[in-house]
Amino acid sequence: DQQVKQNSPSLSVQEGRISILNCDYTNSMFDYFLWYKKYPAEGPTFLISISSIKDKNEDGRFTVFLNKSAKHLSLHIVPSQPGDSAVYFCAAKIINRDDKIIFGKGTRLHILP
């Protein structure tokens, strides 16, 4: 039973436009969410996170939005750049509990020239 879902396996976006990656979760106990970026043959690297007490967190070109009632979060990248082409993983955890970080299947983002 998948607790963190990324339903789009891939996404293609023109360079300079906005990339929007979506993530849904089923466990209402999750209270912290993270996005990771992964290049081929490398380990995932942390990108941005958000606590459930917030509905938005911004870091440069990256913004994460959280809609708790819909159990949905999204990552916005503006403007998209060629180096953003990678696989993006959404992850979730329950703070102060068992500390497991649960990942989604990932979305492969292609930035088109």
């Binding site: 990324q6 396996p9 912290y32 993270l34 990771y36 043959a41 490398e42 380990g43 995932p44 690297t45 942390f46 996170s49 993983f89 992850a91 955890k93 703070i95 068992d98 500390d99 497991k100 970080i101 649960i102 990942f103 989604g104 299947k105 990932g106």
Partner: protein, 113 residues
């Protein structure tokens, strides 16, 4: 600064053989994790540890064992390798307290034939 180091980077095993995937971190992190990544399946948590001497099962622990005798090292043991264990394995660590993001190693690509 090494961060999280995994060895080996690649390995081919025959069915029934055993091996240990090594993971060491030099950041003095309490928490350590082992994940496997299968194509199109995201990252699945195998085992994790919240400190030396403490380990717990993740989502897919069958066929694996771990130990945590020191803060730095978290080896993953495969006793009887099976083709279903062909995957890329990632080790990660994170600091307890407010540092919720985990830092990943480069991965070990394992093929069981």
């Amino acid at each position: 600064n090494a961060g999280v180091t995994q060895t080996p980077k690649f390995r081919i095993l025959k069915i029934g053989q055993s091996m240990t995937l090594q993971c060491t971190q030099d950041m003095n992190h309490n928490y350590m994790y082992w994940y496997r990544q299968d194509p199109g399946m995201g990252l699945k948590l195998i085992y994790y540890s919240v400190g030396a001497g403490i380990t717990d099962k993740g989502e897919v622990p069958n066929g694996y064992n771990v130990s945590r005798s020191t803060t730095e090292d978290f080896p993953l043991r495969l006793e009887l390798a099976a083709p279903s264990q062909t995957s890329v394995y990632f080790c990660a660590s994170r600091q307890s307290g407010t540092g919720h993001e985990a830092f990943f190693g480069q991965g070990t690509r394992l093929t069981v034939v």
